[in-house]
């Protein structure tokens, strides 16, 4: 049984939220992912991921102040919860474990 459910894109979104720390809201997360990973992120994909992560309890949100450039709409800030942090650590550990299990005799394994 899977202990924590975390998709690849969801993991990226969570990591980005963690990086942005107090400044993690919609546009900022999108820009951060796009600049760091050099890939396009659609609003739809990102917001769906955010909704799902919040449902799972990995992140929580709170509304910020409405600003003028957003035509009076509040920013919604996201934050990783303790559960979310455990999920991220679990995901990292499994990967590390898998990395560690690759035997030395095959150093030339190619990943393509």
């Amino acid at each position: 049984m899977k202990k924590y459910q975390l998709g690849e894109f969801e993991e990226i979104v969570m990591l980005t939220i963690a990086i942005l720390y107090k400044e993690a809201y919609g546009v900022a997360i999108k820009n951060e992912i796009e600049s760091r990973l050099k890939r396009n992120v659609s609003m739809g994909a990102m917001h769906t991921a955010l909704v799902r992560l919040e449902d799972k309890g990995y992140i929580r949100s709170h509304d910020g102040e409405p600003t003028e450039e957003r035509m009076g709409r509040p920013k919604k800030y996201f934050q990783v919860t303790a559960l979310g942090k455990r999920a991220m650590e679990y995901s990292r550990e499994t990967r590390n474990a898998l990395w560690g299990a690759i035997p030395d005799v095959s150093p030339n394994v190619k990943f393509s």
Binding site: V27, P66, E69, M71
Partner: protein, 865 residues
Amino acid sequence: MSPPQLPLRFFRWFCHPKLRDSIEGDLMELYKERLIKNGKLKADAHFIKDVLLLFRPGIIRPTEGYQNLNSYGMYKNYFITAWRNVIRKKSSAAINVFGLTLGISCALIIFALVNYHLSFDNFHTDADRIYRFVTEEHRDEVEYDASVPPPFGKFFREDYTFSDQVARLYTGDNELITIERIGEKNKFNETIAFAEPDFFKIFNFPLSTGNPETILVEPNTAIITKKMAAKYFGDESAIGKVIRLNSKIDFTVSGVLQDLPVNSDIQTEIYFSYSTMKQYNEWAASDDAWGGITSSIKTYTKLKPGVNPTDVEQAVDEYVKRFRPKSKNVHHYKLQPLNDVHFNARYEGVMSKTTIWILSLVGVLLVLTASLNFINLTTAQAINRSKEVGVRKSLGGARGQLFWQFTIETGLVVLVATVLALAFSYAILPQLNSFLNTNISINLFTDTRLLLFVLALIVVVTGLSGAYPGIVLSGFKPVLALKGKLSGKQTGSFNIRRALIVTQFSISQILLLGLIVMFFQMRYFSKTDMGFDTDAIIMMPVGSNDEKLKTVKSQLLQVPGVENVSLCFGAPASDNHWTTSIKFDDRAETEPFSISHKGADEDYLSTFSLEIIAGRNLTPSDTVREFLVNENLLSQLNLASPEEILGKNITVNGSWKGPVVGVVKDFHEQSFHADIKPVFLTTSGNTYNSIAVKINMRNANETLTSIEKVWSGMYPDLIYKYDFLDDQIASFYQTEQQMVSIVYIFASIALIIGALGLYGLVSFMAVQKTKEIGIRKVLGGDVVQILWIFGKEFTALVVVAFLIAAPVGWLVMTEWLSNYAFKVDISLWMFALELFIIALVVLVTVGYRSLKAVVANPVESLRSE
């Protein structure tokens, strides 16, 4: 600059309201960025693309509206709160459930009973076209007979074309059936019938084996039910076997019927071919027997579709002119619809529609009292929920929501009560059935009507009991409720509660009054002198025209312990009547009243201790030579003194003629339902049907054994059977006995529920008056004075309820007593007794709780303010 409106509006429409603001903010921010960087065209295009990509599950709002997302949690909370309340107030919850269970159980049982009776004989095909021929006999008064003269059915079938089928059915009780099996003779006492073949075309009693076209056509054939077949022949096939009736007529079984449904008035399990009737009862089988009617023969018909029964009735009037032109007893033949047969008491119906309505009404009343009770208790506890209501309202609970919350809570209690009631009814059903002689079943899963009834009952009871408390509770003002400053006014008016209690107590008092009157009427039956001796007399049925009777009598007289033996048609009072008409002296006309004929030998008077007031007893004889008459005949004949009749001749039905030799003091010839009618006694030896034996009860068992020895010596083929006369007479009132027991149960239940309601009210009062009592005590009021605060309240309630119940009860019971020719008077002391019982119940219920309130230390009640 703003983004294109259409996609924006689309976005706003589809987006989940919770996400809308923040995502829209993001879209705006991005749009502005792009507008500066790439220009309006590209920014617009990006915007549209973003909106379209956002149109996906997770972002789109749920169709049912997002408010509902929360409701399940709310419902869960309702259940939790309801459960906590039950746990916290165990006793009042138990009282509530108990009261409702009682009420609902009664409703269920009454429903099953009513349903059972209404279902009688409703399963026949074209039941609306099936009728029974009945007779109105017009003399001085009209009498009703559920039969017609024996040949009627045959003539009607041949003379008219109104019907598809006509069938006669002769039913006889206590007939001797002999089965010879493997050289062994088995004797049975059974109810048998002679049926014409059409009988099974009119009624839907299907055959299990045999040819429906030929059964009962041949003489000396029989069909029996599966049950009987198993009883007589075990596993062997019954077809072709021989059944012997009364040791003389043999029948061959030609068919086996499916077992009869329980909801039919026709419960005979052995049918013989009608064409064999001649060998059994020549008179009943003859085509000329228009002179009399025997209740044994019933005539049924299935009319053709569209035939009007009134036309048939008019047509058959012709028979009266043809066959009974001179009779003073003018017959009117009528058609009684099949669905009336079970209910019309005039024509031997067993369950009158009135009784059914009264029962249903009692059921409704009991459910009503149970609901009122619930309302009372719940509103009395309302103050305990005030904080909860306050909190819910402050947090935005709407009145409607609170109302439904409390209604659902009530619904849960009702549901639990219903389940308990079902279990309870199921458990007591066997006793009820054996007691009422019924075959009621309660099966929720196969009986859709019952299922619907139960569901409807749950809804109605929830509505009745839940609505008012719901309105009261949900109407609390949150501020007052949270401060704990609710007064009586907000927790439901005290007057409404009074009205509820008065209603409840009126209902219980009416039932109780009914019970008291019924009880004393029953006591009257058993205590009042019938006019003859009923103790220590056994009655033994014998076949008529029995030459051995005299020998049996002399042998019985030699048995030690036997005091007197009489050969007779029947006991002075019995279910068996033989009525006829007489001519008196030399009057030309037949007298216009009917008279009861009792065949009796010279020992009849001494056996039953009947009293002669003038003249002498009959002299021994085997044929009719002289008559004894009762006092009542004198007044019917307008004679002033017994001397005027002594020595005068009377002629019975044109055949028997003889002088009246004595006058007997009036005795009750029937049950107390009927008036005393004219009677004559005579030594008509061929009518003797019974042996009456007066025995000494001191060695009753030995005597009875010796009598049995005499019996089996004389009648080796017959089954020894006897009844005590007083048991027979008690069985006249079996229906009343059942009625009394039922009313007794219902009155007790109504009283219990009423007492529960009263307890609710007194608890409420005690809580309300805590401070008042405290202050009164501090200021020196003594316990008795303060108790009277409670006392006067409840005295007033009981008195008001009594003022309502007394006239209603009086009306109902006067109506009931009018069924009896001999009855008790409803007197003041019955009302007094009723009031006394109610007062006692109130005292016990109220006394403890109010005393507890009054003796409480005032410090406790006044300390916190």
